[in-house]
Amino acid sequence: MASLGSIKRQVTWNDLIFNIILYGMSIIILLIVIYPLYFIVIASFSNPTEVANGKVWFVPSQFTVDGYKEIMRHSELWTGYRNTIVYTVLGTVIGLAVNIPAAYALSRRDLVGRKLITFFFIFTMFFNGGLIPTYFTIRDFGLYDTFWVMVLPFSVAVYHIIIARTFFDSSLPQGILDAAQIDGCGNLRFFFQIALPLSKAVLAVIALYTAVSQWNAYFNALVYIRNEDLKPLQLVIRNILITNQAMAGTGDGLAAQEARRLSELMKYAVIIISTVPIMCVYPFVQKYFSQGVMIGAIKG
């Protein structure tokens, strides 16, 4: 029987309409997603009066870097930036160190008590002590308003453990373990020397998820941090973007108006500088990420 590949299908009207609608819609979706972001980029480089007057659509108007210069002057932004970088790097390392080994251990069928331990983890996804009890626990452990509260107590992410465990389940052939055990390889050695090197895809994915959530972390800081020096970036920019505390320009004088315009401009610039780093990391990790999905696809 001739292979289906050699059957020439006529391009039907239906299919043509389908394609037109499909690609048309996709382009509209693309624009809806990209244009607002693009607008912020160009607005951050434009004269704020021009932006307010609706003159900015596709290119910056009256190019200026005043917004960025203004950012340079706000030292609390730099403190926040530094803190967030530290929290992100440390938080990702700790997150990997805590979650991945647990996921591996849970993927081993010969683990005694596996069901019980799995339940121990999963139960916390559905029920926890609540805000106030947790708040007092953190205080009692002396972690309130310290640097560690941002990276240690909440580093166990059961969702990540499930993802990693599924990966170990489906991608580590039992045969490798059997062969290694016959050769006298212990569990720890197997994990570090064999399992981990084979798991780059899931390590990249979990690292990415953890890094992003650390970078964007805001609620924990809101509740547990008072010290200005420990505040992460998101908390600082919340003041600038939302509660408008950075440049209070009241009154109608020209200077006040000018100050208000500048604070508007600074908002755009702040959005850009706080989001660009994460967006830059993503393309690099996407390589591992799509590999991870592909590995899963072949196995499935």
């Binding site: 819609m25 307010a52 251990a105 983890f121 916390t124 007092f136 626990t137 993802i163 389940d169 964007n216």
Partner: protein, 347 residues
């Protein structure tokens, strides 16, 4: 790895929890004894179990950090749930504070806010659920049909990107875009001749819509990944058979793609329905302003405000506990209901 998750969703009948655990593996002694038809004495079973534990000490070591952290910061706080039933003061501590039973719950249910809190929380949640549900599926179906590789990749990267934006920045962007004077919204309005567009950021009626649709904008792309992975697992011979039968692209989507995605979609819907009382605090809190409070005050923000800000610890703990319990019960109920209906369930 997503394939494995999808595969376990796709199996009708077996429950996800048990399917994920896999078959049991007993020790060699046990197996040999069973094979020989002998009955092991209780002592022998105990000994062989301990032997297996001791042999795998390394695995328990790997588990240790996670278990300790989880115990310290998620289980220990559960002891503090008592705060909801006492008149708690930090000075007296949990032990020294007097019992008041359900008094705080009564206070809460008699307060003037309770009705609006429930209405706001549930309506926002339902709105979010219903609006946000079809778009990731829709996106995945569309992306699956795009044949031009470059365009597909561009579309994917573009739609995934907003997911990485932080909540603070997202709300900041909303405030900037929707500003009636200087934002995109304002500019568009002026373009169409409307000089004084209404301030939708201050309109209580618009709050939920802005919240929900910006969520869809931000997360639909990322949420579609799991559906895309599912679609990638469809047996290509199904498509070929359909082609032979004369199916056009519409029909292939209708009769192959959509039914294939259904189990995954149902599971995700179940998980989200179980979370109805659990609307996220962060975005709502940031979007609140004096003008929209009557619609924007939800249970989570209320718990935070009276607890951390006004220091009414016991009342806040009571409301928080109530919310948690309802969530838990809802999830169990929804899971039961879906089992009854014969669909895949969570556990």
């Amino acid at each position: 790895m997503f394939q494995a998750i999808i595969a376990s969703f796709q199996q009708k009948g077996p429950r996800l929890f048990h399917a994920a655990l896999g078959p049991k593996r007993k020790g060699a002694v046990h197996m040999a004894a069973k094979a020989a038809g002998e009955k092991l004495s209780k002592k022998e079973i105990l000994v062989s179990t301990w032997r297996r534990i001791a042999r795998n000490w390394g695995l328990y070591l790997l588990l240790l950090p996670a278990v300790v952290l989880l115990f310290m910061f998620t289980y220990i706080p559960m002891y503090g749930i008592q705060i909801a039933f006492k008149d708690f003061t930090p000075k007296a501590g949990i032990g020294g504070s007097p019992w008041v039973g359900f008094e705080h719950f009564q206070t809460f249910f008699n307060s003037f806010q309770v009705k609006s809190l429930f209405t706001n929380t549930i309506s926002l949640s339902l709105y979010s659920l219903i609006a946000g549900f079809p778009f990731p599926i829709f996106l995945a179906l569309a992306m699956n049909q795009i044949r031009v590789k470059r365009f597909k990749q561009t579309l994917q990267v573009a739609t995934y990107l907003p997911h990485f934006i932080s909540t603070v920045v997202m709300v900041g962007m909303l405030l900037v875009w929707l500003s009636p004077s200087s934002g995109l919204y304002g500019n568009l309005a002026k373009l169409f001749g409307v000089q004084e567009p209404p301030n939708i950021l201050g309109m209580a009626g618009a709050f939920q819509s802005i919240y929900v649709w910006s969520d869809v904008w931000q997360h639909a792309g990322w949420d579609s990944i799991i559906y895309i992975a599912a679609l990638a697992a469809v047996d290509p011979s199904l498509y070929e058979a359909a082609t032979v039968d004369g199916a056009g692209k519409w029909q292939k989507i209708k009769y192959i793609d959509i039914p294939f995605l259904l189990p995954t979609a149902v599971i995700l819907l179940i998980m989200r329905a179980g979370n109805i009382m659990n609307v996220g605090f962060e975005k709502v809190y940031l979007m609140q302003n004096p003008l929209n409070t009557m619609v924007s005050e939800i249970i989570a923000t209320y718990v935070y405000k009276i607890g951390i800000i006004s220091n009414q610890y016991s009342l806040s703990a009571a409301v928080g506990l109530f919310n948690n319990v309802i969530n838990f019960v809802l999830l169990l109920l929804v899971n039961q209901a879906s089992k009854k209906m014969g669909e895949t369930s969570l556990f």
